[in-house]
Subunit: 327 residues, 2 copies
């Protein structure tokens, strides 16, 4: 669990060429056919750090199959994963009226809601088309479930905004739907395409699930601890929008006065600042860190059975990297 | 081709019970899980005339299979068809910033873009999930193609707004993507589930295609000839939004001055009124009627081979009804 910190680029090394091809394919797919979506596609598929999901799929593929047996279906699965993820980001930004993502203007900000809804629908549609053409019913079901989970996660987030009765369990479920489901479903799907056993496929699902939850918890911590500059979007924006994440839920146990601020939706001057201060003056951040750590640990356990290989080492390294982002 | 005009209710008779169950199922599906989407679901799945697509699927199912052999997969296919259609309507209304549909406030109008994007995504997601669970790869592919076509149609409409170089062929292609693809793909899928031959499956596709194109052309004529009251949305709104349909494309051949008005996007006072007048003082409407008629005729030809039955008579009656809406 305590590998030396390596750069993400190094960790991606075993699938570097695959990722290159993938980015080109995705840009071509969207850009070539519809020039108006080209600019959108360009920055969508090139933004730094965006290739975590296809990298996981490709690493699982190579960790479960010899390099020469990796199929075009494994690669296509990685593309589908990135399409689904990108489509969900584009629609999320419409839903949240977000102006910035990773420091870049969002599609809705640059091109308006009209193009953003279209671009998201187009990507979801392409993903479902390529998915059907993988000719593998189990994989179709796994990824269709992911798409349903995204919608479910967004709806839950929407319905529970500013709801201070939200439990940690609700939060973890929502995080699974919004983030971990894609990593879990696609890691399992990669294994299924490699022909792993059913037990191993479940383990890959668990790996993706725990990786994804840890990833989301860390993201939620960073929303409190990072600067607007580092985040590429305004810091504290989750709380402002009533999206109650792990640090707030833990802080609520210590500081009941936080509840009132949330329930009046930070409507009075200074409310948001006061709430942020209460979170910082609580065990919220450190308990969230422990929560992320425990999921990282479960992720490690889930792939212990994989035979030693460079891709396996990268999977371990990327799982460590999830926590490294905090330091 | 000249059946006496029958009411749609009578034509739906062979599948009346199926449609009842379908509406209940769909309302439950969306409404029960997410009360906030309930109001949306209610008016979405109950609006008058909305059940044309599932009715076609169910009629094709019963025309290609004996009543006792109709499977739950046929019924599920009808539900999926309605979900995809409804999802596309909800997103269309966001894209077009439409306030009214069939005289009812749109989802974006009543609940905002946020809920409308969510509701559409949720319906598309559910559709793709149920689709995968039909456990029939060919049907999954057929309907996934439909979802892709929707997005393609919307994008084309968006890209060619106010483009007076649009050809009739472009228009027909766009109409296929936006309307006919769903009817074609789902009619064929119903036949595939019934185990018809490949040639017959193709014929069912053609039936749906021509039915759908005729349906769209008639809709586009009605946008010029109906009152705002009958339409349930402002008359002439296609032209106003730069959506150039059959009547305009024909009128452009007679009245070149129409081009200028379109190209300046009706920016001067009285432009839109002048354009509408030019369309009415042209053969545009009657040539569009002939175009719709020719597709109705092709739709009839495509189902000649079906054995005589009450559902077949309903399919013929509904195809006639497409034109009846004009009188």
């Amino acid at each position: 669990m305590s590998l030396p910190t390596t750069s993400v680029t190094e960790l991606f090394a075993p699938v570097k060429d695959d990722l290159h091809t993938l980015t080109d394919n995705l840009k071509q797919l969207v850009g070539a056919r519809h020039p108006i979506l080209y600019a959108a596609a360009e920055h969508l598929f090139e933004a730094k750090g965006k290739s975590m999901r296809p990298a996981l799929v490709l690493l699982v593929s190579r960790a479960t199959m010899s390099d020469r047996d990796i199929t075009s279906r494994h690669r296509r699965l990685a593309e589908i994963t990135e399409m689904i993820h990108t489509a969900s980001l584009v629609h999320d930004d419409v839903i949240d009226s977000a102006d910035l993502r990773r420091g870049m203007p969002t599609v809705n900000n640059s091109f308006g809601n009209r193009i953003a809804v279209l671009a998201g629908d187009f990507l979801f549609a392409q993903a479902s088309w390529y998915l059907a053409n993988l000719d593998h019913l189990e994989v179709v079901k796994l990824l269709s479930k992911v798409i349903t989970d995204f919608a479910e996660g967004e709806i839950r987030q929407s319905l529970t905004a500013f709801d201070s009765d939200l439990t940690l369990e609700d939060y973890l479920e929502k995080s699974f739907y919004k983030t971990a489901s894609l990593m879990a479903g696609s890691a399992k799907a990669a294994g299924v395409l490699s022909g792993v056993s059913q037990v191993q496929a479940e383990q890959l699902f668990n790996f993706g699930k725990h990786f994804g939850i840890a990833f989301q918890v860390v993201d939620d911590i960073l929303d409190f601890t990072s600067s607007t500059e580092t985040l590429g979007k305004p810091a504290g924006s989750d709380l402002k929008q009533g999206n109650l994440t792990a640090p707030v839920l833990f802080a609520l146990e210590e500081h009941p006065q936080l509840r009132g601020l949330i329930e009046r939706e930070f409507s009075e001057v200074g409310d948001l600042e006061k709430a942020l201060e209460l979170v910082h003056n609580s065990e919220g951040i450190s308990r969230s860190r422990d929560l992320a750590k425990s999921h990282v640990k479960s992720a490690f356990t889930a792939i212990e059975w994989l035979p030693s290989s460079a891709p396996k080492q990268s999977l371990i390294g990327l799982t460590n990297y999830v926590l490294d982002r905090l330091y």
